[in-house]
């Protein structure tokens, strides 16, 4: 690409705006809604024609839900998915919806589960053509053969069942099926995660070739950084339903602006990277998406966490839970807000122990610094943290955004 100033930016193929998907958690015989799993929580991005957008994150970050919303498999709770010049796909009229359906296809992770075991290859790959009455009879057979040849298979495979193929071949069949209607966008949900490296390379090459020949756009969902680095033009990193960083792939890899991106890279370095640099992981587990942490959602595991990252009452409970028996004798927690609460104990001594613990060196210093008020009255302790809102994405460079409160320079060197 030339460095000359971009002409008027082309209209994106897909526009996702403030997309939110909450799943209700139902309880009891009356199926009362007890809360919501916030799988995707206000995510916006664009996909341009012919580009690959990589979507990375760990399990539970909402990347699969997001992919399914984009593909129209799941209705959205709020926000919009706009395809081409049409409006939100949830409000399309039937003719427009049909056009969207043809233009946006999907390839799934499990090639075995995504192919009907009772259908022959010709039925599997030819089905979209039948649905849209594009071809039948011999013409259909020829179209299917053509599609199979494009994915490196052939006429000899027409009359076989999915179980007669290897994983790589099955994934080729899925891709051929997705190509049948000549779509402009394909959502690829972990298309190579179940495959061995040598087969993965075949499939990745195939996907690249197809993209070049047909100017396809991909939404490439994966947890594998090396794959996404190889395939994607731009990158969206998600954590607990929100985007933590997005930008051009190389920019993000060369200069990650969010500690989570950094952690992902440290945990799984490139095969070509220096083998003597030790891999580094993260402590703790991903919090419950039904009650995501306040402020920056990553603050519970962040290695460079600051007092401004959204410390809350839950963090006290979480920390004490991990540190032993300080919570012994706790008789109740009164939560006035996420940042303000009162811990009541059975005896004054136990309350004093909590107060001491919170003032001591054992408490993570950023958490201590975030305390606005810490007061003990008899057997109860009042804890108030400074209130912090959701951390927004901020500009870090050309088309490069990250949602972190830290100064970019501080993220570079992890302690």
């Amino acid at each position: 690409m030339s460095l000359a100033a971009d002409p008027a930016p082309a209209t994106p193929l897909l526009r996702v705006r403030e997309l939110t998907k909450h799943y209700p958690i139902r309880e009891g015989i009356f199926q009362r809604v007890a809360g919501h799993v916030r799988a995707v929580d206000g995510v916006s991005f664009d996909i341009m024609r012919g580009e690959t957008l990589g979507l990375v994150g760990e399990s539970g970050c909402g990347k699969t839900t997001l992919g399914r919303c984009v593909a129209g498999l799941q209705s959205v709770t709020a926000g919009s998915v706009e395809f081409g010049d049409t409006g939100n796909i949830d409000t399309l009229d039937p003719v427009q919806y049909r056009a969207f359906r043809r233009n946006c296809q999907m390839v799934f992770q499990d090639s075995f589960a995504s192919l009907n075991p009772r259908h022959l290859v010709i039925d599997l790959v030819g089905r979209p053509l039948r649905v849209y009455r594009e071809a039948s009879g011999d013409a259909l057979t020829e179209r299917v053969v053509e599609l199979l040849e494009q994915v490196g298979m052939g006429r000899q495979h027409l009359y076989r069942y999915p179980h007669q193929f290897s994983g790589g071949q099955r994934q080729r069949i899925s891709i051929a099926r997705a190509l049948a209607l000549n779509p402009e966008l394909i959502v690829l949900d972990e298309p190579t995660s179940a495959l061995d490296v040598s087969v993965q390379a075949q499939i990745l090459n195939l996907l690249s070739d197809l993209q070049r020949d047909r100017s396809l756009a991909y939404l490439f969902i994966t947890h594998d950084l090396s794959v996404v680095r190889h395939m994607a033009d731009r990158l969206v990193v998600m954590y607990l339903g929100r985007i933590s960083e997005q930008g051009p792939t190389e920019t993000v890899f060369d200069n990650p602006q969010h500690p989570y991106t950094r952690a992902l890279m440290d945990a799984k370095p490139d095969i070509e990277a220096d083998p003597d640099v030790p891999i580094r992981g993260l402590e703790g587990t991903v919090p419950d998406p039904a009650r995501p942490p306040r402020g920056c959602r990553f603050h519970t595991r962040c290695p460079v966490v600051t007092p401004n990252c959204g410390w809350e009452i839950d963090d006290v409970a979480r920390w004490l839970d991990d540190t032993g028996d300080v919570l012994a004798g706790l008789s109740g927690v009164e939560r006035r807000s996420d940042f303000n609460g009162r811990f009541t104990f059975e005896t004054d001594a136990e309350a004093a122990r909590l107060e001491d613990a919170l003032r001591s060196e054992a408490t993570p210093p950023p958490m201590r610094a975030a305390l606005d008020r810490l007061e003990r009255q008899g057997a109860s302790v009042d804890i108030v943290f400074r209130e912090v809102g959701e951390v927004p994405l901020t500009q870090r460079g050309p088309r490069h955004e990250a949602a972190c409160v830290l100064d970019p320079t501080l993220i570079q060197d992890r302690p």
Partner: protein, 311 residues
């Protein structure tokens, strides 16, 4: 678990590609038949069923049909309580002079009717209701399944007995009573299957390509969900006759009808006085009928097991 390389697992099934979809499908059916026939007990069951069917089909040629209604036992009041081997009454006669041999031959037709009507109607009803509950989910599922629970909470025999008693004693009413009792079983099985199958990604894949809901149900969900229903239906072909005979035995069928349960009932009074034949032969037929379908049902279950398919 041993991970065979994919090539080992998959190539075995394709010695050579057949360039024709019908050919491949036929071969798949052939494979199923081959697996089914590789089990000796299943073959035995199939032979039994075949013999029963032949008897039912050729009943008018085996014994002269009774007039006006061939399903009524002919009464030979001159030859009551005759032992087996009596000329003209090869298996003997009952207290009322009914020919046991005639009852057995024509009873196979009655049993076949009972099995086909009961199982046929309940499979259709159960599949539709189970599918509706499984696909729609939500309150539709709640309502339908609570109804099913009510039916299931009463023991089948007692329930059928109650219905037949209310409707009055007749063979048709036995069919109705059994159908009302049995459909819930299929609804249950089908619902569970549909819920499981619809989570498969190939259903999502069909939605992504924009296929209609009906098509998705007919092409993706139903064919992959129906297998256990088929097996259960085969087993029930036998079991229904067993329960039907019980109801007839208690007297909920029309008296004098050529039906195995009725015959057993008619003959049981004589057992104590040594006239074993009037109950034993029809009882044996009931046993063989139920056994045959159970053997084939079990064989079918094994043959349709996805773990053995494609090997």
């Amino acid at each position: 678990m041993v991970d065979f390389p994919p090539s080992v697992r998959h190539r075995g099934a394709t010695p050579r590609p057949l360039e024709n979809a019908t050919g491949v499908r036929l071969r798949r059916a052939g494979d199923l038949a081959k697996r089914l026939l590789s089990n000796p007990t299943t073959v035995f069951g199939l032979i039994l069923i075949a013999v029963m069917l032949l008897i039912a089909i050729f009943a008018p040629w085996i014994t002269d049909p009774n007039t006006p209604d061939p399903y009524q036992m002919p009464r030979d009041w001159g030859a009551v309580r005759m032992p087996p081997g009596t000329p003209g009454h090869i298996l003997g006669t009952t207290n009322e002079g009914g020919d046991v041999f005639y009852g057995i031959i024509w009873g196979s037709r009655t049993s076949l009717q009972l099995s086909i009507f009961v199982v046929g109607s309940t499979v259709v009803i159960g599949t539709i209701i189970g599918s509706l509950a499984g696909i729609m989910g939500g309150w539709v599922d709640e309502v339908l399944m609570r109804i099913v629970d009510v039916f299931l909470s009463i023991p089948e025999l007692i329930f059928a007995l109650a219905i037949a008693a209310v409707l009055g004693p007749s063979f048709t009413n036995i069919i109705i009573a059994l159908a009302m009792v049995i459909w819930v079983k299929y609804a249950r099985i089908m619902r569970a299957q549909v819920i499981q199958v619809k989570q498969n990604e190939y259903v999502d894949a069909a939605r992504v390509m924009g296929d209609s809901k009906l098509n998705i149900y007919l092409r993706d969900i139903l064919p992959n969900a129906i297998t256990p229903v088929t097996v259960q239906a085969t087993l029930d072909m036998g079991n229904v006759v067993l329960i039907g005979a019980t109801l007839s035995f208690i007297g909920l069928s029309e008296a004098g009808i050529a039906e195995w349960g009725v015959l057993v009932s008619e003959g049981q009074a004589g057992i104590a006085s040594g006239r074993w034949w009037a109950s034993t032969f029809p009882g044996l037929m009931i046993f063989l009928w139920a056994l045959a379908f159970n053997l084939v049902g079990d064989g079918l279950r094994d043959a349709l097991d996805p773990r053995t398919e494609g090997r």
